[in-house]
């Protein structure tokens, strides 16, 4: 319990520092939102002044930060300058798309990466291993946007198996729409998992307790599942969690290429428009996701690994 409390405390502190940093950084960045709001079109001084007042752009920095922080603590992240919607709504509107994409990609990543990694490890040095390793190397190296375009041309346009853009509305539609983006996103991540899993499994294969288990007559599948998978799960889980976190904020190339209205796309446009409340909330969200995922990973370690549970090793 003390462990969890300590972790939570650290997480909150971390988010606080993150929010302050990003706030100062964004405020210090050149440019004014009203320029973009008013676009490449003449404006009047009155309008500009009104906008500055409306968004408290002329208040001292610390005041702005404090009032923003006060709001944020109550779940109010201010109003988007560009769309005049509460930031919370702007984000929750787009969250399902990105969350769906991230989850889908993670399922693909793990579903493909773990078995392939295991297979490569079991056939270490063989044809299969070399094939998988090489493929994963290439997958790791393809720039994600190039891959997106390739998939788009191949499977959506030439073959017509998948829709070209958008996120779909019903569940079935959504799955169809998210398939190609998820593949584009999962490719390099699956490569990471393959490598991780392979290394973990190789590491494991040398462990005495696996030999001991087999020497006692445990069946091979049982040894792999209850011993190998479980023990290799932890390092893979760590990476998987971080990938999930990265997906939630880092999917922007893919979202852009597939016309998905997700958080990554939102970030790019919000940064371009200097829609500070949105960027600020997104940075915080991104930080929170990473922190929460880390926390969850810690908790899983706690659940899975008795050594951590009993404080025998530092996690």
């Amino acid at each position: 319990m003390a462990f969890i409390a300590r972790r939570l405390g650290a997480a909150v502190l971390l988010l606080g520092v993150l929010s302050l940093l990003s706030f100062v950084l964004l405020a210090a960045a050149p440019g004014n939102p009203e320029n973009l709001l008013l676009g490449p079109r003449p404006s009047t001084p009155e309008t500009r002044a009104a906008i500055r007042a409306q968004f408290h752009l002329d208040d001292p920095l610390y005041e702005r930060y404090l009032s923003w922080l006060g709001g944020a603590l109550h779940g109010d992240f201010g109003t988007s300058i560009y769309t005049r919607e509460p930031v919370a709504n702007v984000i929750t509107d787009r969250l399902p798309v990105t969350a769906g994409l991230a989850t889908y990609a993670l399922i693909l990543t793990v579903g493909v990466g773990v078995p392939l990694g295991l297979a490569a490890a079991m056939r270490r040095g063989g044809r299969l291993d070399q094939g998988i390793t090489l493929t994963s190397l290439v997958a790791l190296a393809v720039p994600p946007f190039a891959l997106s375009i390739l998939l788009l041309y191949g499977f959506a346009v030439a073959l017509g198996w998948f829709p070209v853009f958008g996120a779909g509305e019903t569940v079935a539609e959504r799955i169809a729409h998210l398939t190609l983006p998820a593949v584009a996103l999962a490719t390099s991540e699956a490569a990471i998992i393959v490598r991780q899993m392979r290394a973990a499994a190789l590491d494991l294969a040398g462990q005495d307790y696996l030999t001991f288990a087999r020497a006692r007559g445990l069946s091979l599948p049982r040894v792999w599942i209850s011993y190998a998978l479980r023990n290799a799960a932890l390092p893979v889980l760590t990476v998987g969690g971080l990938l999930m976190a990265a997906n939630l904020t880092g999917a922007l190339f893919v979202e852009r290429a597939f016309g998905l209205p997700g958080l990554g796309e939102l970030l790019v446009t919000a940064v371009a428009r200097k829609d500070i409340p949105v960027v600020q909330a997104l940075v915080l969200l991104g930080g929170a996701v990473v922190v929460v995922v880390n926390l969850l990973i810690d908790l899983t370690y706690l659940a899975v690994d008795p050594r951590v549970r009993h404080g025998a090793v530092a996690s």
């Binding site: 440019g31 004014n32 973009l36 079109r41 009047t44 919607e85 853009f165 958008g166 016309g259």
Partner: protein, 491 residues
């Protein structure tokens, strides 16, 4: 299949952020606004101002317009459009609390009053020919009650909007797009489409793929430079029309070598505009000699454009001009540009052209946001390229902004910084005068630009609609409500 036939799926390259022109004065937003909201007046095929919600108007003196409201116009919720509504719909743009993006369009408006149950009187502070065409755009009629209740967020997805136009909003979401349905209470002819779904696809290539695969039926976001790719699509008709735009280089006349008119002329000679037209418009455009959008020139002069000095592409002539200046061997200029903008390629071509006469442009990429801020603050202007799009046929939407001394300051659009008292007076004339004298005044201004070269006009381009063959469109440069101009093929 019947309901597919009269449902249009339209693709936008950006999210419509507001259904109110006060907060969403941008292409994706206005295209939706005009389908939902009526304006007081509208534009005809040739750019002439036509009645709309205003049945008629009079212009008793240069400062006064009196509009008569059409009878029986109702908002889509059934409530009538009153003179109060109409008057408030214009005057709200002046209110600082609204902080309207259209505010600069109504600076000449002094007073708007409902002077009768069906009459609205507008008083201007100075005579301005641009007022009426501007009203076809900015004077969108919204219910006064609603607009008053939401000065800051009318048109946002939360508040939405209410109009008397041919369509009404069924759904407005920033992520899922906009759905419009036919407004049964519309006073005009019954709209041909029952339903319009608008989706956003920000990547231009994905957008094209979506239209070509039939997942989207049409779009207005066809980049001129990619025209050839669109015209080759099988089930898609791409209709081109002259855009109300002018692409130009601005030369900051108040600093460094650009102070020298010979340098400026040398630059004008050195730029290979024909090649630029090919590069940027893929043939769907033309070289610009006069410093006004092509449709405006046509509206103004018909076919008889004035013959003013022009600067043909001629490296020798350019070198000769440069030799007359204080910098015969050339010089170097730091040239920031918008790395996210459309002119990246054009700037490279220009830089390479100028390099031939010894002028080096050091291209410095800036993120759009930073670039625009810097440009609006009039920092590091030197040589800038811009391609400005306008919406009315009136030159006074263009010229004062680009040439008056008042807008040669930060936040103004006069990036060349060029300006004289005499020119300011001429620009006043352009706004004030009507008919033949006005035409002459404009010619004088254009002549001065041609002579002094604060700006180098580069090209005019065409815009296009791409539309699946299941639909047709009857629209052009001046069409305000594009969506209503689409109809199922064969109907």
């Amino acid at each position: 299949k019947q309901d597919r036939a009269d449902t249009l799926r339209w693709a936008l390259s950006e999210v419509p952020n507001s259904l109110d022109i006060a907060h969403g004065f941008n292409n994706p937003s206005t295209i939706v606004q005009f389908a939902v909201l009526d304006c007081m007046v509208t534009l005809g095929k040739k750019g002439e101002v036509l009645p709309s919600v205003a049945e008629s108007w009079t212009h008793p003196d240069p400062l006064t317009y009196v509009f008569t409201l059409r009878e029986g116009v109702k908002f889509s919720d059934g409530s009538p459009v009153t003179a109060e509504d109409a008057a408030f719909s214009l005057s709200r743009h002046v209110d600082p609390k609204v902080a309207s993006q259209a505010a600069s369009y109504v600076t000449m408006v002094k007073k708007v009053e409902a002077t009768g149950p069906r009459t609205i009187t507008v008083t201007l502070s100075r005579p301005n020919q641009a007022f009426l065409p501007t009203a076809a755009l900015a004077w969108q009629i919204v219910p006064k009650k609603l607009a008053e209740a939401h000065p800051e967020d009318l048109g946002s997805p939360e508040v939405g909007t209410l109009g008397s136009g041919p369509f009404k909003v069924a759904k407005f979401s920033l992520t899922e797009g906009v759905t419009l349905e036919r407004n049964p209470l519309y006073w005009g002819p019954k709209p041909a489409l029952r339903k319009i779904e608008l989706k956003t696809i920000s990547d231009p290539e994905t957008l094209r793929l979506a239209v070509s695969s039939g997942e989207a039926d049409g779009t207005a976001d066809v980049r001129p430079s990619e025209a050839r790719k669109w015209t080759s699509l099988r089930d898609v008709t791409t209709t081109f029309y002259p855009a109300d735009n002018i692409a130009f280089l601005s030369l900051a006349v108040d600093q460094g070598p650009l102070k020298d008119v010979h340098v400026r002329r040398a630059i004008a000679h050195a730029v290979d505009r024909a090649a630029l037209v090919q590069l940027m418009t893929g043939g769907h455009g033309s070289q610009a000699d006069l410093f006004l959008p092509k449709p405006q020139l046509t509206a103004l002069y018909g076919d008889a454009w004035p013959a003013l000095p022009t600067y043909a592409y001629d490296v020798e002539a350019a070198k000769a001009e440069l030799a007359k200046s204080a910098y015969p061997r050339g010089f170097t200029l730091a040239t920031p540009y918008d790395s996210g903008g459309e002119n990246v390629k054009a700037m490279q071509a220009v830089a390479s052209d100028l390099a031939k006469i010894g002028i080096t442009l050091e291209l410095t990429p800036l993120p759009s946001e930073k670039y625009i801020t810097q440009r609006m603050d009039h920092e590091d202007l030197a040589v800038q390229m811009a391609n400005l799009y306008y919406s009315t046929p009136d030159p006074s939407e263009v010229l004062p902004d680009l040439l008056s001394r008042a807008s040669a300051k930060p936040q103004g659009f006069n990036f060349s910084g060029y300006g004289t008292a005499a020119l300011d007076a001429e620009l006043d004339d352009v706004g004030r005068l009507e008919g033949e004298p006005r035409q002459e005044a404009i010619t004088k201004v254009l002549a001065e630009v041609a002579e002094q070269v604060p700006y180098v006009p580069l090209y005019h381009n065409e815009s296009a609609f791409a539309l699946n063959k299941r639909f047709t469109i009857d629209a052009g440069t001046w069409t305000i409500d594009i969506l209503s101009a689409v109809r199922p093929a064969g109907s």
